[in-house]
Symmetry: C2
Subunit: 305 residues, 2 copies
């Protein structure tokens, strides 16, 4: 088989925003022996990253990761210098709006990404180099995405310990509406409704309430930007949920239990050609690119085993 | 202050049903130096309990705890011999139906209870002597409940490591609809709706989905009996949730976050007379009886410090 990407050393990585996600990614890559440059508007975040071995600089090249909140995405590179051939990616939780904001500036050099991790905590104090270990990382392959750049970003995600799920931005936004944005709204509604029920209810709250409301401990501005940035798919996911809630309770309980009991599915290894249709088909069936598959590109990614 | 209960040694405890809840309670009490007799229709559960120091016998006295699933509650004592002056309590997750089922047979000797713990696992393999440690344990004080018997059951809950929340059965059922039964239905709906969204959505599912669906991993028969046994309050809680979901999302997110961020409230110690109105008022304001308050009754509960 021929390699569709040129043989090249692992590119440097630049991380803009050194909070929980960006700081954790930078720390994970430094721990993996990579050269990482980083920047954050907050001096304390810069200092914390520097202490973990991140080079602090406003000049970025290679794979440049925008790890800033959604409302700050369009202006994330203001005041920074980015190499002309850099590949731009981001960690935002909604992909179509970021694609719309960045496509004009970067065209096929932009590869949207979203690692499915993070906790209700935020900021550089919540940095954890193991945050991405075993996590799924959605990576967008639009019709105009340059595949070698997609592979470069995929390699960064793999180096951080994640598995890469090839998706389109639209597929991603529909999927995360169901499994992330809707759960955030439900957690909020559950907490607010329980408070209405009174102090006795909150005093009796235990495991099922704690679990069902944990994500709404996240920064409300972050959650609001996320659900409003993905309003259409989230509203559609809410409609699907309402239809489920209208079922007879024994049917609903049985259906929900079957889904939860069916997870996680057994894993099998498949070899997938490195082209867009095959990669997207892998993602649609619930598959992910892991380190074994990445061996296909080891000619240009010498540090991935 | 005068003690409303006679000075007496800690009574023996009999546990009917030695699965996760009953087996854990028996094990916790044995570990606390108490004499515990137990029974289960399953020989394997009896053997597991015996190995933890529980005396296996069909004759029960003192505080007799019915730790069987809701559908089995009415017949839990079939084939067993219970002392005529025994105090009967249970661990069922709904209280009005159990009260209706047991009041005729036991009158004021029945004290409904519900420890707010347990996991999605079940059966004697899930026994954990620390299960009740720090948990809230709702204990029903109806107008005809004999207060000395209520205190006896409260002492058992405290000895297992829990804190006791005085409630009426109706108050309990309303409260748990909001913080337990509704979360079970939501978890089921969330899981079923995500499955409808397809394999990609399930493959991307991470923390918020796992947390939001964990409780529906529980035995569906158990969940169905619980929500159908508390249908009125659960439907009312669902209505309150729907009203929350109809709010503008930024308002909903802010309201939910405020509730979650406000938990747990700071604790302060109050002294409460051991009478029904004062105890119920304590429960309604989110308070609980803990070991310090139990010192009031140490004359008859020599092992509570």
């Amino acid at each position: 088989m021929s390699f569709p990407v040129p043989t090249m050393p692992a590119p440097p990585v630049g991380v803009v925003g050194l909070g929980q996600l960006g700081g954790s990614l930078a720390a994970a890559l430094v721990a993996a022996g990579r050269t990482v440059t980083g920047w954050d508007v907050d001096p304390a975040a810069r200092e914390a990253a520097a202490a973990r071995g991140v080079r602090i600089d406003r000049e970025l090249s290679g794979v440049v990761v925008l790890a800033v909140p959604l409302p700050a995405m369009a202006g994330a590179l203001d005041g920074l210098t980015v190499a002309e051939d850099a590949t731009i990616t981001d960690l935002g939780s909604v992909k179509l709006p970021v694609l719309a904001a960045l496509r004009a500036a970067f065209g096929g050099r932009y590869v949207g990404g979203h690692p499915m991790c993070g906790t209700e905590r935020s900021g550089h104090a919540a940095v954890d180099p193991g945050l991405f270990s075993g996590a799924r990382w959605a990576l967008c392959l639009e019709p105009d995405t340059e595949l070698p750049r997609w592979l470069r970003v995929a390699e960064v995600a793999l180096a951080a310990g994640a598995e890469v799920v090839p998706v389109t931005a639209a597929e991603h936004d529909d999927a995360v509406a169901a499994i992330s944005h809707l759960p955030h709204l439900l957690a909020a509604a559950l907490a607010a409704a329980a408070a209405e029920a009174g102090p006795l209810a909150l005093a009796l709250a235990a495991g099922s309430f704690r679990d069902g409301t944990r994500v709404i401990a996240s920064d409300p501005a972050f959650v609001t930007a996320m659900v409003e940035g993905n309003a259409g798919p989230t509203a559609a996911a809410l409609d699907r949920l309402q239809a489920q809630l209208a079922r007879p309770w024994p049917d609903l309980v049985a259906a929900g239990h079957a889904v939860r009991a069916g997870q996680p599915a057994g894993r099998r290894t498949v070899r997938v050609p490195l082209d867009r249709p095959a990669l997207l088909a892998l993602g649609r069936t619930g598959g992910a690119v892991n380190r074994r598959l990445a061996a296909f590109v080891e000619g240009w990614v010498p540090d991935v085993g």
